[in-house]
């Protein structure tokens, strides 16, 4: 009887779950509220809005640099590397010491006294950044070898707890007086931050003088962060798509066993991934410290977590995803700080995480993957 009925009338099974409109309506309402707040403020005060966008870009590009490490490591070993944010912090501290203690940002001027000032700054700062990157790479590889490698076949949560332990260790070991310092340290910049304002043309902001009302200010550090971050993206795309190690990385993230059978040294690939992620985190750490000019040993926790949220938002395991997700996170945070209230920035970041995971668990760029326990 039922069969006959289904033969005459095509089955109209709705795959739409019941009452779905309530949840969707709620989310739409939230989205509409956010859009309303943003648009209203944009119309009310356009210069302030653009100022917010610029500070959001500054945050977002730094998050992008950190998020790369998260997304690559998660893509390959399925581990939330909690200690990544602390590698970022260590990068900032190393650059602090090479600038403030060893004056390394001035070494070309000491070696070649007649050198042009701008060239000295560029070469010196690059050296400082490179030193931070190399030390952080070594640190990340050590962490991976000592703490994560023995637990590769253990349950995922065991590795996560170990990662939390490593993160704690770095934070509090760094807080000892003979290592770094337990206090906030004013960061000595390797070069001066120059700010400009746009109002009927571009003018430089004079020190000790506020820009006029309604002007949009931006500084050289914003530009440097943006350029560095975009260059890293391009480099990484090239590395992953065109080089041998990139192919090995992709193969390892797809299937570790099969990659091993194909003659890929999986341990080496994993170490390389950790190293390259740490290098970009160190770069991010130096730039972040230059931009915000104050460092302490727990500096990396919240940027690290937010960068992780950005990686999830973009689709974890995807490199362009991490980039886009980080930019969205930066904007969301800047808008919250500007228009709602500064303390709520963390709340917004984690709300984004929860909503993304509920609505689209694979993120913007992610592909659906099989859950491995």
């Amino acid at each position: 009887m039922q069969q006959a009925a289904s033969k005459t009338t095509p089955p109209t099974i709705s795959h739409r779950p019941p009452l779905a409109w309530i949840g969707q309506g709620f989310l739409l309402l939230l989205a509409a509220l956010a859009v309303f707040v943003i648009v209203k403020n944009m119309i009310d005060n356009p210069p302030l809005f653009i100022q917010m966008v610029i500070s959001g870009l500054q945050l977002g590009f730094v998050y992008a640099l950190i998020a790369l490490g998260y997304t690559m490591v998660y893509g390959i070993v399925k581990l939330i590397n909690f200690a990544h944010g602390d590698v970022f912090m260590v990068g900032a501290f190393i650059s602090f010491y090479s600038v403030a203690k060893f004056n390394l940002h001035q070494w070309p001027a000491m070696v070649f006294p007649g050198m042009d000032g701008l060239l000295v700054t560029i070469i010196g700062t690059t050296t400082v950044i490179l030193i931070s990157m190399v030390i952080c790479m070594a640190l990340a590889v050590t962490i991976e070898r000592v703490a994560y490698k023995p637990l590769r076949d253990a349950p995922r949560i065991a590795a996560l707890i170990t990662a939390i332990g490593v993160s704690f260790f770095l934070e509090f070991f760094g807080a000892l007086n003979f290592v770094f310092s337990p206090r906030f340290i004013p960061y000595q910049r390797p070069f001066d931050v120059v700010a400009w304002y746009i109002k009927d043309g571009i003018y430089q902001v004079q020190p000790g003088q506020a820009p006029p009302e309604g002007a949009i200010t931006f500084s050289n550090i914003v530009l440097i962060i943006m350029i560095a971050s975009i260059l890293v993206q391009i480099f990484l795309q090239f590395l992953v798509r065109k080089t041998k190690i990139g192919v090995a990385m992709r193969a390892t993230s797809y299937d570790k066993q099969a990659a091993r059978l194909m003659g890929i040294n999986v341990d080496q690939v994993i170490s390389f991934t950790f190293a390259i992620g740490a290098a970009f985190a160190a770069l991010g750490g130096v730039l972040y410290a230059i931009a915000y000019s104050s460092i302490w040993t727990q500096l990396g926790i919240l940027p690290g977590l937010k960068a992780f949220v950005a990686a999830v938002l973009g689709g974890i395991g995807s490199i362009p995803g991490a980039f886009v997700g980080a930019l969205i996170m930066g904007q969301a945070e800047a808008m919250t700080m500007g228009y709602i209230s500064t303390p709520m920035r963390d709340a917004v970041a984690f709300s984004i995480l929860i909503i993304v995971l509920l609505v689209r668990p694979t993120g913007i760029f992610g592909e659906p993957e099989k859950e491995k326990a």
């Binding site: 995922r156 996560l160 707890i161």
Partner: protein
């Protein structure tokens, strides 16, 4: 003097662990009278040690504080062990629920002694009404199958907000009626006497637990669907957000008496050994009976294999939510006990970095071992907070940092060498599974 202190502290730690073992053993005794007598005796022994005889006192005020902290920590860690150890949901949000419980209970009694009964009335009615609303919405939703979690969350949220609004209205309406009996701080009425305050304290702690449970229900409903490590990050975010709200409780939240980041002062110090012990024993009994019930086995089956559990007809989402809510309830109770021991709540206490402590305790004691958690909580507090803090404080200003350097190392070594925890699966006395004797047919 130093050697004497060291030896005395070590003896105290060993004695306290022996005491825990004895307490659990006597609680598990077959004879009911031995059981009750043993618990009373265990209570009385410590009470006696806390009572000063002239100048002499076995347990000093410092030890007394450690005891209360250890009781609170035991409750928090047992709750976390239920969520993580027994149900396998990696939660870092336990500390947030602890903070919610602490602030909620403290606010109720603080308002009460200052002649404002609204705290108690609003929370009491709020808890009852929200529970009714959740129950009603649950009944309504059970008619449908496969509702998206966002939809059910929205409905529950609306119900909770509506019920809370009604509770606030009732509170404002009932306050004038109670005001004469409550009096003012300068001129307290009969409802502000010692005995009434004890009752209010008891209610406040229970309500704080219920409040934390409701928050955990609303939060857990969408978040528990995320899966293991994402759930961990989301709950960590929860702790961070709760801490942010505490820091801004007088600006973002409408609670000027919590004084935001400066910390809430003037909370009546009502926690006595009796209350701390009673709540801890209550939590241990509830936890043990829960775990060794059929619901408890359901909870553990979800940890072992979700697919197999679903095939057995177990409601995965419901089970996860249940253990999360019960675990948070314990944390809320612990918060109430802690707030009224310390008398001062600062957001720094509920920072997420400190929030890893219960996790470390649970891992040390052994995941899925209740005795391990209880012993590790007491050992942790008495060793790290007590002995090590005193020793290190004589070594210089860097002492607190050294503690935090040492325990990640210990955690790492533990994860690498003995991932099942110090006690593994051993259970002591009362916490052992009840073995039902086989009936021999004659």
């Amino acid at each position: 003097m130093d050697t004497f202190f060291l030896v005395a502290s070590l003896v105290k730690i060993i004695a306290i662990l022996a005491y825990i073992y004895g307490l659990l053993w006597v609680m598990g005794h077959a004879n009911r009278w031995v059981k009750i007598g043993g618990i009373v005796l265990a209570f009385a022994v410590v009470q006696l040690a806390l009572t000063p005889f002239g100048d002499f006192q076995i347990l000093t005020a410092f030890d007394q504080g450690l005891l209360y902290q250890a009781c609170a920590m035991t409750m928090v860690a047992l709750g976390l062990n239920l969520i993580y150890g027994f149900n396998g949901q990696f939660s870092l949000g336990q500390w947030g629920f602890y903070g919610i419980g602490a602030y909620c209970a403290a606010d109720i009694t603080y308002r009460w002694i200052n002649g404002d009964s609204r705290g108690l009335i609003v929370v009491a009615f709020g808890v009852v009404l929200v529970a009714l609303a959740i129950w009603g919405i649950g009944k309504f939703l059970s008619r449908y199958r496969g509702i998206p979690v966002m939809s059910s969350f929205t409905l529950y949220l609306l119900g909770t907000v509506a019920a809370a609004a009604v509770a606030v209205f009732i509170g404002n309406a009932l306050q004038p009626l109670l005001q004469p009996a409550l009096g003012t701080p300068e001129n307290p009425g009969w409802l502000n006497s010692e005995i009434a305050l004890q009752v209010v304290f008891f209610l406040a702690v229970i309500l704080a637990g219920a409040f934390a449970a409701i928050v955990s229900f609303l939060f857990g409903l969408p978040v528990l669907t995320l899966g293991s490590d994402y759930f961990g990050i989301a709950t960590l975010g929860f702790t961070i957000v709760i801490n942010t709200l505490m820091i801004n409780s007088d600006t973002i939240l409408p609670f000027p008496e919590m004084k935001g980041g400066r910390g809430m002062i003037g909370i009546p110090k009502l926690t006595t050994w009796f209350w701390a012990f009673a709540f801890m024993v209550l939590v241990i009994i509830v936890m043990r009976n829960f775990i060794h019930s059929s619901t408890g086995r359901t909870v553990m089956s979800v940890r072992e294999d979700e697919t197999a559990a679903r095939a057995m007809g177990i409601d995965i989402a419901g089970t996860k939510l249940l253990s999360f809510v019960v675990g948070s309830l314990f944390a809320g109770l612990a918060g109430g006990v802690y707030a009224h021991y310390i008398g001062f709540l600062s957001p720094g206490t509920f920072d997420f970095l400190v929030g890893f402590n219960p996790l470390i305790i649970v891992v040390f004691g052994g995941l899925g071992s209740m005795s391990g958690t209880v012993a590790a909580s007491f050992g942790w507090i008495f060793f790290l907070e007590g002995l090590l803090r005193v020793i290190l404080s004589q070594m210089g200003t860097e002492a607190p940092t050294w503690r935090f350097v040492l325990y990640p190392i210990a955690l790492l070594l533990l994860m690498l060498l003995r991932p099942q925890g110090l006690l593994g699966n051993t259970e002591w006395g009362f916490l052992k599974a009840k073995v039902i004797p086989l009936k021999v047919e004659k």
